[in-house]
Amino acid sequence: MTMTEAREVKRPGLFNALVPSVVSGIVLGVIGAAVAGYIVNAATQGGNLDATVAAVYTGWLLFFFVGIGAFDGIVQWGFARRELTSAEELELAGKGQGIWRYFRFTTDHKVVGIQYLATVFVLFFVGAIAAFMIRLEQSTPGAIYFTPSTYNTIVGMHGILMIAAAIIMVSGPFGNFVVPIMIGARDMAFPRLNALSYWLLFAALPIFLSTLALGGFQTGWTGYAPLAVQGLTPGMDAYCFTIIVFGISITIAAMNIITTVMVMRTKGMTWGRLPITVWGVTLSVLLGLTAFPTFIASQIMVLMDRIFQTSFFAASYGGSNWVYEHLFWFMGHPEVYVILLPAMAVAAEVSAVFSRKPLFGYRLLLGGFIGITVLSVIVWAHHLYLSGSVNALDGPFMLDTELISIPTGIIFLVLVGTLWRGRIWVTVPMLFVVGVLVNFVIGGITGIYLADIPTNEIFHGGMFVVAHFHFTLVGASVFGFFAGIYYWFPKMLGRRLDTMLGQLHFWLFEIGFLGTFLSLFYAGLLGEARWAANIPPPFAVPNTIASLFAILIAASVFTFIWNVIITLVRGERAVANEWGAKTLEWTVPTPVPLENFEHLPEVKSSPYDYGSPPVPAGDGVPATGGGVAGAPLQAHPQVES
């Protein structure tokens, strides 16, 4: 032990454990919120509730991050006499802190990945509860269980929680945990910013949930102005603040992931040898980076209208709702591809592994992803066909929207081609990939009808749209997420999920999902409008059927939760290479050590070279181990220079 390290050894204790941590963050955050709210309330003499609420949220955020130690890094970077030692960096990464590392500002990408995973589960669960409340209300005609105002808030909360969860569900857990290992790195490019991006998300959750105590918000998940600036209650402020904080979190995470993939790839990991998951996540966050700034700007404008009485959206003072719609949907459409791309990439990854075949057209698939990334930025006004805006551009936007079905179709072709004549291993991840294919056909084809202006005029604002986006976002993207969960769970948490429960989860989910949303397609064809608590009698039958099938979805959710719980408590321990896959994350031990690799690997082949003879290893290279015998790995260790 050196002199420096002797000085670094600190005495453990309860105080050191709690400070800094999420506990001190919450305590200080609450104090900061109260103080800031008190000051602004006094300054405005209680006459501007929105300003007070904004001050409370700002105080919460600033002091939460002080309490959790997020600013320590900046102080050290600027004012310390020396750089951090390796011991100090490893302490930041959670070395020797046991389970407490998940409740601190821990920089290890694997910890951040697990934190994201837990948060995604919570968001999905709460969003699912809201969904079941919606289906309950819509199971029979009449606004029986909730007032229309409460129903609107439930629908809006369901929407924004699920959208937020879907945005981060692949890039958060897998982008953080798996991607650095996949590219042969020891961590993300910016470990502290990685932790910051997660804790921003965490800090946004109480802000969002406070809307329930502030009267809720009536606009639905889109937060449309001018309704957003007209609310009598400050619940809308919670929505706006949540979006701003969430957008900043996404921006930081996107910057981190892109930089990591650009500069941290190991020797031999060329762009053409990157696992498709890495491409999907990287393109997704790149798209998010370009999409979210306008969303943040729109929410700042809404807050300004609410707090300072500006008039960006009020027509009587020269504002226009079209400004909001354009700013929102400029984000809103790329956002669905932010959700879709990583999920499809995971489906492709899984399909190659469990077909024991190379991806059918790696570069074709990549071209499809890039095509979607580029085209998705120029189609947003198909959400505004009936708004009265952009009449002259309706045609070009319709064309662009239809064009995007080409790269999407290519993705579908690659997935099917990968399975074609493969040695299919029917695992639970593979079941979910099949579910992706089935659901995405339906979701994609119905999108064509919505892309075309004549049919859009009929379907706009109806349940047909709701069913369409559920088939694409849930049927394709969430199913892709579950494929990834069952695939990487052994590596991330060291245990195998129960196969039978996984199969039960899949079938309950798929049958329930198809029954629910095919019924809603029918309701949409009949002319049912969306966002209505009171179902008129002509639409009662399909809604009742949908609600009955939703019970199966609920059963699937609890099946999955039960599977996770019993696996964590007494599940079978996983081996290092559970599936005999070839990507780098399967070359490291389970559980993954803090530094990921003992020696950084050198990549010598494609990640999907199933059926190819193994690449000759160098001297001293251990034999491949774990999982299916004889599966040659993508890389071999090299002595780190």
Binding site: M1, T2, E5, E8, V9, K10, R11, N16, V75, W77, G78, F79, A80, R81, R82, E83, S86, A87, E88, E89, L90, E91, G96, R186, A189, F190, T251, A254, M255, I258, T259, V263, M264, L289, T290, F292, P293, T294, A297, I300, M301, M304, D305, F308, Q309, T310, S311, F312, A315, S316, Y317, G318, G319, S320, W322, V323, H326, E595, E598, E640
Partner: protein
């Protein structure tokens, strides 16, 4: 509790220089991209409102743009700040450890001056406007205060840079000065652009 490092942990502690340089540049450029898009969104929104002139209420008689002379002071301060930063950066790249503060302090001080004057512009602007503000006043208010925010961010960035200079931790970390410079120059350029845009809207 911090436990002593193993030899492997010592070995893995230092990233190669080219990785540190690459990540610093990428971080700065990507954040500039994101922020630049938000500025474009604001400008597009403002231009759209101007073109729509909904119910002929976009701009009323008596609506005035921000005061020109203080805006000019801000613009000049920013340009000089950018130039001073550039000279500081050049000094760092040449490995000249002495006299860095001669260029850095003016760069930082001018940025702070720009921020203070911009805040004063905002305060006097809003005293001249009457709530509820029309669309033109709303756009000008947003532009003025978002410029102030960007100046503040750059000024805050100057603080840890100053700390590193005082601690002698710039040598060997020239890439940090370069990457920070990207953000500094971007702040100057974006602020000038938004100032000209606000004048154009008038």
């Amino acid at each position: 509790m911090i436990t002593p490092s193993t030899p492997l942990e010592h070995e893995t502690h230092e990233l190669a220089l080219h990785i540190r340089v690459g990540r610093a540049r990428a971080c700065s450029l990507i954040l500039i991209l994101a922020d630049g898009l938000s500025i474009l969104g604001i400008m597009a929104g403002g231009g759209y409102l101007s073109a729509l002139n909904t119910e002929n209420q976009y701009r009323m008689a008596g609506d005035h743009p921000p005061a020109f002379v203080p805006g000019l002071v801000v613009a000049i301060s920013l340009v000089l700040s950018g130039l001073a930063y550039y000279w500081w950066e050049r000094k760092v790249r040449r490995g000249e450890s002495s006299g860095q503060l001669i260029f850095f302090i003016p760069a930082w001080a001018l940025m702070i001056l720009a921020m203070v004057v911009q805040i004063l512009i905002g305060i006097t602007l809003n005293r001249g406007y009457t709530a509820p503000y029309d669309a033109y006043e709303s756009v000008i208010t947003l532009i003025v205060w978002s410029m102030a925010l960007r100046h503040a961010l750059a000024a805050i960035l100057g603080l840890p840079l100053f700390g590193r200079i005082m601690r002698g931790r710039i040598a060997g970390y020239e890439y940090l000065v370069e990457a920070s410079g990207y953000w500094w120059y971007y702040t100057v350029a974006a602020s000038l652009l938004m100032w000209l845009y606000a004048l154009r809207l008038a």
